[in-house]
Amino acid sequence: MSWIDFEIQALAIVVAVSCALPGAFLVLRRMALMSDAISHSILLGIVLAFFVVEDITHPLLILAAAATGVLTVALVEALHRTRKVKEDAAIALVFPALFSVAVILISRYAGSVHLDLDAVLLGEIAFAPFRRLELWGMDLGPRGLWMMGAILLLNLLAIVVFYKELKLSTFDAGLAAALGFSPALVHYAFMTLVSVTAVGAFDSVGSILVVALMIAPPAAAYLLTDRLPLLLVLSGALGAVSAVSGFWLARGIDASIAGSMAAMAGVTFLLALLFAPDRGVVAGVRRRARQRLEFAGVMLAIHVLNHEGGPRARAENRVEHLQEHLRWSPDFARKVVRHAQREGLIASGSGGELHLTALGREHARHRMLH
C-alpha cells in the first residue's frame, strides 16, 4: 500500500464518519432526503461564490455553499407551510430548481469556471492527495484531509455539546418546546451542520454519494441498536468500514472510489437488514417460525387433553390423525410432535399414540384458561 493509498483511505474514513454522525439524526428525524436536497443545491452556492472570488479554493465557497444548504431547508419549509404542496413535493421542487440554475451557470460560463460537472456528481477523492496544504514551505498533507478533519471535529463538538438538545428535539419535539428549547433553532443549527458536512464531503465523493454515506450507515446501525450513543458510534464505524472496503473494491476492479464506497455502504446496510440480531429479516423469519411451532405445540397439548381418556382417544391422539383434525401437513405435524416432545409436553406410547406428560397437562390447562 503506497502512501497515496493511505492518504486516500484516511480521507475516505474521515468523510464517511463525518457524514454518518449528522446522518444518524437525519434518519431518526425522518429527514433523510433533506441530505439529497442539500447536497445538490450547495452547488449553486459554490458557483455563485466562485463568480465573486474567482478562486476555487477560497473559504468563501464553503460558507456560500453551506448558506445555500440552509436556504434550501428554509425554502422547502416555506413552500410546505403554504399548505399548497406536501413536504415531499416541496423537496422535489426546490433542489432540482436550484441545481438547474447552477448547472446552467456552469455550462454557460464553462470556459471560465474550473468546475467539472462530472466531478460534481462523482467526486474526485482519487485526486485529493495531489492537492496539498503547504504552510511556510512545509507539506502538511492533503488539503481535503485537513478540511474534512476540521468538519469532523466540528460535528463531534456540536453533538457532544448539544447532545441533550439534539436528543430531546429529535425524539420529543413537543417536550423540547415545552421545556424551552426552541425546536426551530435546533433544527436550523442542525441543518447548518448537515450543510457544512455535505459541502466538505461533496468535494471528495460528489453530491449523490454524500447521501449514501449520510443515510446508509446510520440506517444499518438503527437496525442494530436502540441506544443513541451506540447508534452514533456504530454509524461512524460502519461508515468507516464502508469507506475502506469501498476503496479496496475500487482498487480491485479499477472503478470509481466514491461509487464503490456508496456500494459498500449499501452492502453494509443490506447485511444489517438481513442479519441484524433482533430486527433482521432472517431473525424475523426464524422468530415467526419458532412462534408458530410453539403455538402449534400448545394446540397439540390441548388437543390431546381434550381426547384424553375419552372413547376415541386412541384414534385421535396419533400423529397421523393430526393432519386431519388440525389440518397440519404430515411434515409439520411430525415437527410439532418432535418439538412438543423436546419441550417435555408430550410422550408417545408404544402404539404410536400420544400422551400428555404432567407438565404438558398443566400447560394445556393453563393455556385453555388464559
Binding site: 413535493a89 455550462s107 449523490i208 476492479i253 472503478a255 437488514l273
Partner: protein, 378 residues
C-alpha cells in the same frame, strides 16, 4: 434571433423539431403520471427510480455491448423497478422509514451505477462514449427514432392509465375503501409504479437521472393549484409538461451552451411559482385577497356595532349623530374608519348627518339588530 425566427425554426429546423417533439412527448407523459406520484406523496420516488436506473444502463451496455436506446431504456427500467421493490421491501420488513429507504436506494444504486460506468470506461474498447450523457441528459442527442420510442412507450403508458383510470383514482384517494370493495391494491400499486418507471426512463436520455424527477413533480404540483378534479389536473399537468419541454428545447437551441434538461426544469419550476401565486382559488394571491376582503368586512361590521352600541346608550338611533372622534376612540386601532363609514353609507346603513358626525339609518338599525345582541337594542 427574434421570437418569430425561433418559431419558424421550431417548425422547419429538423434538429430542433425532433428535440422539441421528444421533450414535449416526454413532458406530457411525465406530467400526467406525475399527478399520481404527487397526490400519493411519492414525489421523491421518481428521484429514486431515476437514480436507481443508472446501474441498469451500465449493465445493459456491459452485457449487450449495444448503445441503442431501446436496450439501455430496458436496462434502466428493470433497474428502476428493482429499486422501487427494494424501497417497498425495506419499509415493510424493517423499522426503516420510507425517507431513509428512498435515500439508501437512490444513492447506493447510483453508486453501483457509477462503479459499472467507470469500470466500462476504463476498458480498452472506447465504444462506451456517451453513457455519461445519462447523468445530465443531452436532448440534442435525440434522434427521430428516440423520439418515436419516447412517444410509443409514453403513449402506451397513457393508454394503460386511461384503461385503469378508476382503479388508479381509487388507489390514490382511498386505498382502504378500495381494498374493502375488492381492489387488488398491491397489484394496482405495482402497475401504477411501473408506469412511473416508464415515464422516467424514457426521459433519462434527454433530461438525465439527476433532474428527471423534477419533470415528474413540477407540472403536477403546478396543475394541482388550478383544479380539484383529477382528470383536469392530469390533462393540465400533461400540457404544462409538454410546454416546459418545448420551451426548454427552444431556449437551449439559442446557443450559448445552455443545456436542455436544466432549462426544462426551470421552465416547469416557473410554472409552479406562477401557479402557486396566481391560481384562482388555491393561489397565494387569491388567498391574500380573500383574507383582505374578510378583514375589511369585519371592520365595517365592527363600526356598525359601535354605532349601534352608541345608539343603545343615547337613544334616537336614526337621528342622534355621533362624532367620528368618538367612533375612533371605540375602534381600538382597527384602522380604516373613514372607509368603513363610507362603505356603510353606500350600503344605506349609516348616514353623515353633519360633516364628521354619523348615525345609523333605519336599515342600519335593522341590520345591526339581526347581527348583534338584541338585549342592547335601543
Amino acid at each position: 434571433m427574434s421570437i418569430g425566427e425561433l418559431f419558424s425554426l421550431l417548425l422547419f429546423d429538423y434538429t430542433l423539431r425532433t428535440v422539441a417533439l421528444g421533450t414535449a412527448a416526454l413532458g406530457a407523459v411525465a406530467g400526467a403520471l406525475g399527478c399520481f406520484a404527487v397526490l400519493r406523496r411519492q414525489s421523491l420516488l421518481g428521484d429514486a427510480i431515476a437514480h436507481a436506473a443508472l446501474p441498469g444502463i451500465g449493465l445493459a451496455f456491459l452485457l449487450t455491448g449495444s448503445r441503442a436506446t431501446p436496450v439501455l431504456v430496458l436496462g434502466a427500467a428493470l433497474a428502476g423497478w428493482i429499486g422501487t421493490l427494494f424501497v417497498l421491501w425495506i419499509v415493510r420488513s424493517s423499522r426503516i422509514r420510507e425517507d431513509a429507504a428512498l435515500g439508501i436506494v437512490l444513492s447506493v444504486f447510483f453508486g453501483v451505477g457509477l462503479v459499472i460506468l467507470t469500470f466500462v470506461q476504463r476498458r480498452p474498447t472506447a465504444a462506451q462514449a456517451g453513457l455519461e450523457t445519462f447523468l445530465f441528459g443531452q436532448a440534442a442527442t435525440l434522434l427521430l427514432r428516440d423520439v418515436l420510442l419516447i412517444a410509443s412507450l409514453g403513449g402506451a403508458a397513457l393508454v394503460v392509465l386511461a384503461l385503469f383510470w378508476k382503479e388508479f383514482k381509487l388507489l390514490s384517494f382511498d386505498p382502504e375503501f378500495g381494498a374493502s370493495v375488492g381492489l387488488p391494491v398491491t397489484r394496482v400499486d405495482l402497475l401504477l409504479t411501473s408506469l412511473l418507471v416508464v415515464a422516467i426512463v424514457i426521459g433519462l436520455q434527454a433530461v438525465g437521472v439527476v433532474l428527471i424527477s423534477a419533470l415528474v413533480v413540477a407540472p403536477a404540483a403546478a396543475a394541482r393549484q388550478w383544479t380539484d378534479s383529477l382528470s383536469v389536473m392530469v390533462v393540465l399537468a400533461g400540457f404544462l409538461g409538454a410546454l416546459a419541454g418545448v420551451a426548454g428545447s427552444m431556449v437551449s437551441s439559442l446557443g450559448g451552451g445552455i443545456p436542455t434538461g436544466p432549462t426544462i426544469v426551470l421552465v416547469a419550476s416557473l410554472a409552479v411559482i406562477i401557479s402557486l401565486c396566481f391560481a384562482p382559488r388555491r393561489g397565494l394571491m387569491a388567498g391574500f385577497l380573500r383574507e383582505r376582503g374578510t378583514r375589511r368586512r369585519l371592520r365595517v361590521d365592527a363600526v356598525l356595532a359601535d354605532l349601534y352600541a352608541l345608539a343603545a346608550q343615547h337613544g334616537e338611533a336614526t337621528s342622534h349623530a355621533h362624532p367620528v372622534a368618538v367612533l375612533r376612540a371605540m375602534q381600538e386601532r382597527r384602522g380604516g374608519l373613514e372607509r368603513s363609514l363610507e362603505a356603510l353609507e353606500s350600503r344605506g346603513l349609516a348616514r353623515e348627518v353633519r360633516p364628521g358626525e354619523w348615525c345609523l339609518t333605519k336599515a342600519g338599525v335593522e341590520r345591526a339588530r339581526t347581527l348583534f345582541l338584541p338585549e342592547v337594542a335601543p
